[in-house]
Symmetry: C3
Subunit: 182 residues, 3 copies
C-alpha cells in the first residue's frame, strides 16, 4: 500500500511505555507547540482477496497480515478496520489455537439457524444455505476494528481473526482494509 | 454538515488505483516532505433521525445517504461510523435486494428470543416486547463502521444498511454519524 | 494518558451546535485556508484492566470512564474504540438502568448456547463453560466504537457499556482503549 519506504515518524513522543499509556499529537505547522511530535496522520486503504474457504470457521490472521504487514509496520498507534464485502460470510475475533473451537462454533451456528425442509424461510431461490448464511452474517458481523500499537495488531495472546464462510460453495472473499494512525 | 462548499483536497496522491492500493499522507507544515499531499484530515459529525419504522428489518441505506452524501463526497479515503442511540433496535449490514431476506431475519430473531408467556424474563414492566428487543440489539449491535473510498461508502454490491426495529411501537430513532478521513 | 494538561484546541470552528451538525478541519500549515481551525488530530491509547467480575452481564461504564475521562475531555469530536483482549468474554452496549435486563440477557445466552452433558462440543479440555464462552464472545463481540462529542462519550440516555463475563471463574480483563479525534 505504501508508496515510499522511508520512515514516516519524525520523533517519538517522550511518553510512558507504548501501548500502555501514550498520547500522540501531530504537528500542525507550529513547531513550538510541542516538544515531541509526529508527522501528520496517515490513511492507507487496500482491498485484499481471501481465497475460497470451505463452509465453516477459519483462522485467517496470517493471511491478512501477509497482505498488510509492511503498511502496518509504519503505524506507531492507530486502528485497523477490516470490512468484508459480502452478506453470506462473516468476520469475527476468537480463539487462535485449537481448531475444535472453530468446528464447534460452526456446529453452533448450524444448530440455531434452521436450514432445509424444516426451515421457515421465504428466501430460498439461491439455495437452502443462502438464507441461513445471511442470518449468520448479521450475527457475527462483517467488520472488525483492531488497535494498532508499535506497528502490530494489538490483540490478546489467544485472539485471532476468523473468516466464517456460511455458504456451501467456497468462493473468494474481498476485504477492504483501512489503516489509520500515526 | 459542511460549513463551506469549497473543495478540500489540494492535490491527489500519485497513487495506484484508488480503493485498491493507496496511501495518503497529510502535509504537516513541511511542504518539501511529499510530492503529493492532501490537506489535513477532517472530522464531521451529525445526528440524524430515522423516521418510525414498524417492527422488523428495514433497508435504510438511501435514507442515511440522503443525509450524509454531501459530506461524504468530500472524503477521498476514510471511515464512516454510525451509532444508534437506542437499546431496543439495531444496525446491521446485510442483503440489499430481496425484502424476503429482511422478513426471514425478523422471523429468525423472533424464533430464538422468546416473548410473552413462555419467556423467562424478569424485566417485563415495559411490555413483553421490550426484553426481547434488548437482547436482539446486542446480538446485531448498535453501530457500524464502513470504509469511505472516493466520496462513497465502499460496500459490496449486495450490501445495504439495515435498521432493525425490535419494539412493537414504531418510534423515530437517532443515529450519530461520524465521518473521519482525508 | 495525556502528558500535558494544557489546552489543546486553538480555536473552535464557528459551527452550528456541536454534536448535531459540525465539521472540523485541521490546520495544515496554511493559516489562510480556514477561518476557524483546530490543532492537529490526536491519538491516545491506553490498556486498562477491569477487575474480576462474576459470570454474567455487568455495567462498566463508570469503571471505564474513570480511567479515560481526563483524556476524553480533551477531544472535541472523535471516536473511542474499546477492544477486549479475550475470547471468553464480550463487550456490548445495552440498557443502563434495570439490572434485570443484564440478568435476563445472561439467561438468554445460557439458553441458546448448550453447556455440559447435553452440549455437542469437541473443545472441552478447558472446562464445560469454555466453549460456550467462546461462542458468546463472537455473538456479542469483543470491541465497541463510540462517538466522542464535546469531551464525552455520545451515547443515548439509556445506553451503557456492558462487560459480559462468560467464564465461571472471574478473572481480570484487559481492554485497549484508543481515542482518536480533534
Amino acid at each position: 500500500m505504501l508508496m515510499q519506504s522511508s520512515a514516516i515518524f519524525a520523533t517519538k513522543p517522550a511518553s510512558a511505555p507504548l501501548g500502555v499509556k501514550a498520547v500522540y499529537r501531530t504537528s500542525s505547522g507550529d513547531s513550538n507547540s510541542m516538544a515531541a511530535t509526529v508527522r501528520g496522520p496517515k490513511w492507507a486503504q487496500k482491498t485484499i482477496t481471501l481465497p475460497p474457504h470451505r463452509r465453516g470457521c477459519h483462522l485467517v490472521t496470517s493471511q491478512i497480515l501477509k497482505e498488510i504487514r509492511p503498511d502496518l509496520s509504519e503505524f506507531k498507534c492507530g486502528l485497523a478496520h477490516l470490512f468484508l464485502h459480502h452478506t453470506s460470510a462473516s468476520l469475527t475475533i476468537n480463539e487462535n489455537y485449537d481448531s475444535d473451537v472453530r468446528d464447534d462454533t460452526e456446529t453452533f451456528l448450524n444448530k440455531i439457524v434452521p436450514e432445509g425442509r424444516s426451515a421457515p424461510w421465504k428466501h430460498t431461490l439461491e439455495g437452502p444455505d443462502d438464507m441461513p448464511a445471511h442470518i449468520k452474517s448479521s450475527m457475527f458481523g462483517c467488520s472488525l476494528t483492531i488497535p494498532i500499537t508499535d506497528g502490530r495488531l494489538n490483540m490478546g495472546t489467544w485472539q485471532g481473526i476468523w473468516l466464517c464462510e456460511h455458504r456451501d460453495a467456497p468462493t473468494a472473499r474481498k476485504v477492504v482494509v483501512t489503516l489509520n494512525g500515526i
